[in-house]
């Protein structure tokens, strides 16, 4: 019998949520001791502009309508799309971003220039109240860089944002236990202070050392531009 195809990704690098992957646990990149290399030195390479970061209407944890561009203004942003019921790649991504934020509490350069934005693509369940509860775990230490947890008024509203960013998401029917499932490819976006996407990470690229090297590369780029 054929297994159900999914948006699962090949082993030795990537995954998406869903549980239909052909990937064996021991082959998961992290379990296999992934990222067996030295991270590049910040500022020794270029990060080409990929495209402008799209805007969109969102709700913050207080239920107030905001714009993505308004929230991102003036900072380098690490933007992720998740849903709270996700039990695999979303928490992996969020935990990695959390570790960078923890570092930002000790490094003023990161704290003062970086910002985290996380948008839910499951607005029906991920209400502002639910997100506020979720966000507390990550923002209890307020000495780090700001982290905005956001949702939307409707699925249509977030779909417009997802389409604009090119974030693939597919809702699956509930399983026998009534648990809804959302298949998605993990994406994290690095956005510069001018609102341009400068890198896109899948799980295979989501090494905190690479993210930090890229953020610092953007900071060095800005400082070099100031001196020119």
């Amino acid at each position: 019998m054929a297994a159900i195809p999914s948006l699962a990704q090949h082993k030795h690098a990537e995954h998406e949520h869903g549980g239909h992957s052909a990937q064996a646990p021991e082959n998961h990149p992290a379990a296999a001791g992934q990222f067996d290399f030295e991270a590049p030195e910040p500022g020794t390479y270029e990060l080409p502009v990929i495209k402008p970061a799209p805007d969109g209407a969102v709700l913050d944890t207080a239920g107030k309508t905001r714009r993505l561009h308004e929230l991102m203004a003036g900072r380098i942003v690490l933007l992720s799309f998740v849903y709270l019921s996700c039990t695999d790649v979303c928490p992996v991504a969020t935990a990695k971003l959390h570790s960078i934020r923890a570092l930002s509490a000790r490094e003023p350069d990161l704290r003062d220039n970086l910002e985290f934005v996380t948008v839910s693509f499951d607005p029906e369940r991920d209400t502002p109240e639910a997100l506020a509860d979720y966000a507390r775990v990550f923002t209890e230490n307020n000495r780090g860089a700001p982290w905005h947890f956001l949702t939307t008024r409707s699925q249509e509203q977030v779909n417009r944002i997802l389409d604009a960013y090119g974030q693939p998401v597919r809702r699956r029917p509930p399983d026998a236990d009534g648990r809804a499932d959302i298949a998605h490819l993990l994406r994290v976006y690095l956005i510069d202070r001018e609102g341009r996407i400068r890198n896109i990470y899948g799980l295979g690229f989501l090494d905190t050392r690479l993210l930090l090297a890229d953020v610092r590369t953007l900071l060095l780029e800005e400082r070099r531009a100031e001196h020119d």
Binding site: P5, A22, P29, A32, P48, T87, I200
Partner: protein, 438 residues
């Protein structure tokens, strides 16, 4: 469960990365795709074949042909759709975006890129965008060849350039929406771009493959427009032309896109296939002109090395190996050779000592091979290049599908692309409607 307590548990889980939820049945899909790509884990439903137009055959245009491979379908083994792009562009390779919603297909002659929507109706791909300024946008890159999915982007290797029409070329990145991002020129002796050079840096390109765990990208090298658009027999007699073939592979820093080492791999190394195993730091390639199988591997110090590890057929007869396909368990490697129309299977359990264990003549000429993830279904096509294909009766143009039971290839179906007025079939990719169900 309360969100915060669930979250705390998730963070703990992430620390050790317990991933039992990811485990599932190994089933299908091609083994040679980008690891960043959405994956079919059930059986493929469709095979898309990027097909060269042939004068006097059907409408004569390059086209994307869709074949139904659902065994329970009334049209199993039949062409169910064909989309012509208008004109002949030297259709060759193509690739799927990471979300698998679009298939990008390149023309080596005109350097046009055709983007097909395969998600709205996977049984009927639709041409939705044509990139016709590739050469100008990229700063002179000609011959878009490999299309390799990165998150949100398409990485494209070129074959040539518009200054000399020789083999010096570049890697190019586009957004999934089809907008140009940047160009990375291959290292040359004149401009090695910081790479160490074993013998020569010819600047040639062909395939590109990635091993994220090692932050490594490998490229191989073929030949330029002036050769791949020349008549094959004429080129073989042209000593100067025969000197214009690639003899290098380049190990790049994937993240920075900077070349690190130019390996000497003579004889035009073509397709690259990284092993899948979590500790398998190696890839295979085949050198077309010398009929050698090469292993590219990280040595004990982590430095990339290349060595010839096996002959493919009798090199004296120039079988011209053209495509390879690695099994998902890294134990087998299929090798197609064009001149003798033969598929050979190597046991690569010891990658440093591959052993041929099976061979079968598929046709008078043979080019691409794609296998399912479980290795049980294989598909072969016949065409190499419009001016390199055999002539007369040997100019067979087909898609042939087989099952593999571990001992023998057994025919499932065959489609005669000439008889059906389609043209010269080249690269294949798998599709499934179930990828897009909601």
């Amino acid at each position: 469960m309360h969100i915060r307590s669930r979250l705390a548990r998730c963070i703990a889980v992430v620390a050790t990365l317990s991933i039992a939820a990811f485990a599932g049945p190994a089933a299908a899909d091609e083994t040679c795709q980008s690891p960043y790509m959405a994956k079919i884990t059930g059986e493929e439903e469709f095979v898309y074949i990027w097909t060269l137009g042939d004068e006097g055959i059907g409408d004569g245009s390059d086209k994307l042909v869709t074949v139904d491979v659902r065994e329970d379908s009334d049209t199993f083994g039949e062409v169910i759709h064909s989309t012509s792009v208008g004109g002949r562009h030297e259709a060759h390779h193509g690739g799927l975006t990471d979300d698998r919603r679009h298939f990008w297909a390149g023309g080596l002659d005109t350097s046009r890129i055709f983007i097909f929507d395969i998600h709205t109706n996977p049984a009927k791909p639709k041409l939705v965008k044509t990139i016709d300024d590739f050469v100008a946008k990229t700063g002179g890159v000609v011959g878009p060849h490999t299309f390799y999915a990165l998150p949100g982007r398409m990485l494209i290797s070129g074959l040539s350039n518009d200054r000399t029409h020789g083999g010096e070329t570049a890697l190019v990145e586009y957004t999934n929406e089809g907008e140009y991002i940047t160009t990375h020129w291959m290292p040359t002796d004149a401009e090695p771009a910081g790479a160490s050079v074993e013998k020569v840096a010819d600047g040639y390109g062909y395939d590109v493959r990635i091993l994220p765990r090692k932050n490594t990208m490998l490229t191989s090298s073929f030949t330029g427009w002036s050769n791949y658009m020349m008549d094959f027999g004429k080129m073989l007699e042209d000593e100067a032309a025969m000197q214009r073939f690639g003899q290098t592979m380049v190990a790049w820093n994937l993240h920075t896109r900077q070349p690190e080492k130019v390996l000497h791999v003579p004889g035009s190394p073509l397709e690259i296939r990284f092993a899948w195993g979590p500790n398998h730091d190696y890839a295979f390639t085949s050198a077309a002109l010398t009929s050698k199988l090469w292993l590219i591997y990280a040595d004990e110090s982590g430095e990339w090395q290349a060595k010839a590890v096996a002959d493919i057929g009798d090199p004296a007869n120039m079988p011209l190996p053209v495509d390879i396909s690695i099994s998902s368990d890294d134990s087998r490697l299929w090798v197609d050779s064009f001149m003798d129309g033969t598929a050979r299977l190597f046991d690569i359990t010891d990658p440093h000592n591959p052993k041929q264990i099976y061979e079968k003549k598929i046709g008078a000429q043979l080019n691409m091979v794609s296998q399912s993830w479980d290795g049980e279904r294989l598909y072969f096509t016949s065409s190499l290049l419009s001016r390199w294909d055999k002539k007369g009766e040997d100019n067979e143009q087909f898609l042939k599908a087989y099952t593999w039971d571990g001992e023998e290839l057994r025919t499932r179906f065959a489609i005669d692309f000439t008889e059906q007025g389609l043209g010269r079939p080249h690269i294949m990719r798998f599709g499934s409607s179930r990828l897009y169900d909601s």
